[in-house]
């Protein structure tokens, strides 16, 4: 699949933002005044920036409001509804913490639950797609959820929690890669089943339907990215989870936290890039490539 920068930025940034709002919502850290302004502000800014980045991915952003209508069937619509509901529900808690120094736990907890559901919905947009076997597996949502929770814990500065969540993220990433490597074969789609000619013999592409590029090849048959898969996996695992976890073991300092956060986000960008670039769509079978 094509690793669109807008989608990579959206999932990483909004994931971190919603993760931060989860921990602020349940009052793991209950800042007031300026500190609350900065922390809640960062949560809203990250989540909002992510949503804005995703709007750039649309062909017709002016019709984006329609995306709130189909929550009964569509995970993408559910994500839009949940994200907006999170930001709205969390607002009284945030405003009250900033201006009156009085947290409002009811709104906080409800907002946190909605934020967690938002991150899950983001993951389900990919997990639901059967035509991309690597994504269509239970190991996909844990990567998104643990990444979001870990980034949030780093942002609120909870060392122990962040350490545990980073290790959980490492395990989730590895599980997703190990399971993902077998998924295409498990799905059972081959050039034989795609053409229905498999019973006759070995099928290969003789002539593609067009000599140039097209939307399908650009969007779904992205072969370039897989050359450095193993190096990129090491970068994602190392910078995204292991190095920040090690940095947290050092004596607590703002520099240490800052570096851990920077390393985590950089690693996650690599992980998300791979998440798309590595994923093979079954339509590639019609083109003799994957």
């Amino acid at each position: 699949m094509h690793p669109a920068p807008s989608l990579i930025l959206f999932t990483v940034l909004s994931g971190a933002g919603f993760g931060l709002l989860i921990w602020l919502g349940i009052g793991l850290r209950a800042p007031t005044g300026l500190a609350a302004f900065l922390l809640f502000g960062m949560g809203y800014a990250l989540a909002g920036a992510g949503l804005l980045a995703s709007a750039f991915h649309l062909g017709h952003p002016e019709r984006a409001l329609l995306a709130f209508t189909q929550w009964r069937s569509s995970w993408l619509s559910r994500e839009a509804v949940l994200a907006t509901a999170t930001l709205a529900t969390m607002a009284p808690h945030a405003a009250s913490s900033v201006f009156a120094a009085v947290p409002m736990p009811v709104f906080g907890w409800l907002g946190a639950a909605l934020a967690l559901a938002t991150v899950f919905a983001t993951a389900m947009i990919y997990t639901q797609i059967r035509a991309v076997p690597r994504w269509h597996h239970w190991s996909t949502p844990p990567v998104f959820v643990f990444a979001s929770l870990a980034a949030g814990a780093l942002l609120v500065g909870r060392t122990g929690l962040a350490f545990g969540l980073l290790l959980a993220l490492a395990i989730a990433m590895i599980a997703h890669w190990v399971a993902g490597d077998r998924q295409f074969a498990r799905a059972g789609s081959t050039m034989g089943s795609a053409t229905g000619l498999g019973a006759l013999g070995q099928v290969r592409l003789l002539e593609p339907p067009h000599s140039g590029q097209n939307y399908l090849l650009r969007e779904m048959v992205h072969v370039i990215g897989r050359k450095h898969v193993y190096k990129l996996r090491l970068i994602a695992l190392g910078l995204g989870a292991l190095l920040p976890a090690l940095l947290l073991l050092l004596p607590a300092s703002y520099v240490g936290f800052g570096l851990a956060l920077l390393s985590h986000l950089t690693g996650l960008l690599a992980q998300r890039w791979l998440f798309f670039a590595e994923a093979e769509h079954v339509v590639g079978l019609y083109y003799g490539k994957r």
């Binding site: 699949m1 062909g59 995306a67 035509a131 779904m220």
Partner: protein, 247 residues
Amino acid sequence: MTTLPQSTKTKLGLVIDLDTCVGCHACVISCKGWNTENYGAPLSDLDAYGANPEGTFLNRVHSFEVTRDTAPPMVVHFPKSCLHCDNAPCVTVCPTGASYKRVEDGIVLVNEDACIGCGLCAWACPYGAREMDGVEKVMKKCTLCVDRIYNENLPEEDREPACVRTCPAGARHFGDLADPNSPVSQLVAERGGMDLMPEQGTAPVNKYLPPRPRDTLATPDLASLCDPAPKAATGFLGWLDRALERL
């Protein structure tokens, strides 16, 4: 609403005969022509006269080669367009309700005025039946020529999809696949019509007819006919050959 209908009484669709298709791409061109001039946004071309031309198409013809163990290899031309699946994954993922499957005839359509161009439906389709238009930025797909098949302004023989109407080989058939007595359903029953990628669980309405078994020669010893000379001559010629060799 982008939930799928429980069932549709009529299932309009295509039956494509892989035995008959000659790979001329006439269906590709007639489809592009009709759907550029009629329903919805035109199918655009990008860089049409430049170095890297490309365009939006709703129907494309791939050509495959099947290598067989006991028979010569076989070339199969393979037209591919939307299969109007009963369990269409492209419909349920749509966040705006632009994608829908019609209750009355099972055709899967896009309401282009409600499409935000997110591309998720194209990802959800295992067959690559949906393409985002490069200029209009809305999702395009086969409409089964919904603006021809019910169009009373057209002569009756033209009230079928443009690809079916134009196919010079008669490899494309259009009809109701829910009715077991329709000519298309009988063709499917007779020829063993098949689903593409059944393991994807999409329950396609369109069916493909596999190539018919070919005639085979009783003893196809073609290799011996190609051999320029016998390897070792026997009898008088053999003796002569060996004698001349020794000289």
